[in-house]
């Protein structure tokens, strides 16, 4: 399969997300995180957080708006009919709490062929209002050959 690799290295516009208490609650409950640090500001402060804290994987919620333009970019040119989300990794730093304003920037890290499949790897970096990194993500989408 011939892969177009012009988008490798391309960076996409930063996306801002304001983290809200009820959004954290909705996410925590869907995943079964029932510790009061995710739900109750008092319990969260007692545990040393500024406000209710987001489960680490909440990063997918605040990163999504940065990832969509990267994944759907015509220059990247993924064929969605044959695409699967193959792998994912996150490295967390500063915790994210209700009230935080998170800015995420996505880029296309690599486009490579292996075993007749296209591997499209994107990276994301998210920082809070103080400029501290909250998470760094590596998103791997795999497109089957025809």
């Amino acid at each position: 399969m011939e892969l177009e690799t012009a988008a490798v290295g391309k960076s996409f516009p930063p996306f801002e997300y304001e983290v809200g208490r009820e959004k954290i609650r909705e996410y925590a409950i869907a995943l079964g995180f029932d510790d009061p640090i995710y739900l109750d500001p008092g319990a969260a402060r007692e545990a040393g957080f500024r406000n209710v804290v987001a489960p680490p994987m909440f990063c997918v919620v605040y990163s999504a708006g940065a990832m969509a333009p990267a994944i759907f970019d015509p220059e990247v040119g993924m064929d969605f009919a044959r695409m699967v989300h193959g792998a994912q990794s996150f490295d967390w730093s500063e915790p994210v709490c209700s009230g935080d304003l998170i800015t995420t920037t996505a880029s296309c890290a690599s486009i490579e062929e292996r075993d007749g499949k296209g591997f499209y790897v994107f990276e994301s970096v998210s920082v809070n209002g103080e400029g501290a990194e909250t998470v760094r993500g590596t998103w791997t989408n795999i497109v089957r050959g025809e």
Binding site: E26, A30, L31, V60, V84, A87, F90
Partner: protein
């Protein structure tokens, strides 16, 4: 992680049976409304047996097992990496199991897997937990 972790220790893990509407609630919580997750009829029209679970939902469950291992402290989950394998389905028990692959005093590495029946839905998953 009340007692020091040692290589080879099994972690407590967890089991969850997502109900039929879980993918709808996860879609609302995450913003991912891909119809293969929320519309069984659409999913069948593209050759799937029915609505399938979001991969990132299953990764979220793996993160919960890793956070539980870290005494429930989300600050101690340093990294998590997964490979998505089979499809996961609602109304079928998901089991997250794992073990300690290394422990050096500062950090504990975990190897985790998510299974549904005899299918591995997430494998080669590694988590790093700060001690």
């Amino acid at each position: 992680m009340s007692a020091p972790a040692a290589e080879g220790d099994a972690i407590p893990g967890l089991t969850v049976t997502p109900d039929r509407y879980l993918p709808v609630r996860y879609a609302g919580a995450s913003g991912d409304f891909n119809p293969i997750h929320v519309d069984p009829e659409f999913a069948r029209s593209v050759g799937l047996p029915g609505a399938i679970l979001h991969g990132l939902y299953m990764m979220g469950l793996v993160s919960r097992a890793a956070t539980d291992f870290a005494d429930g402290d989300p600050r101690r989950l340093e990294s998590l990496s997964v490979q998505f394998r089979g499809m996961g389905f609602p109304e079928e028990e998901i089991s997250i199991t794992g073990s300690v692959t290394s422990a050096d005093g500062d950090r504990v590495e975990l190897d985790l897997v998510a299974t549904q029946g005899d299918r591995e839905v997430i494998r080669n998953s590694t988590a790093t937990v700060r001690a």
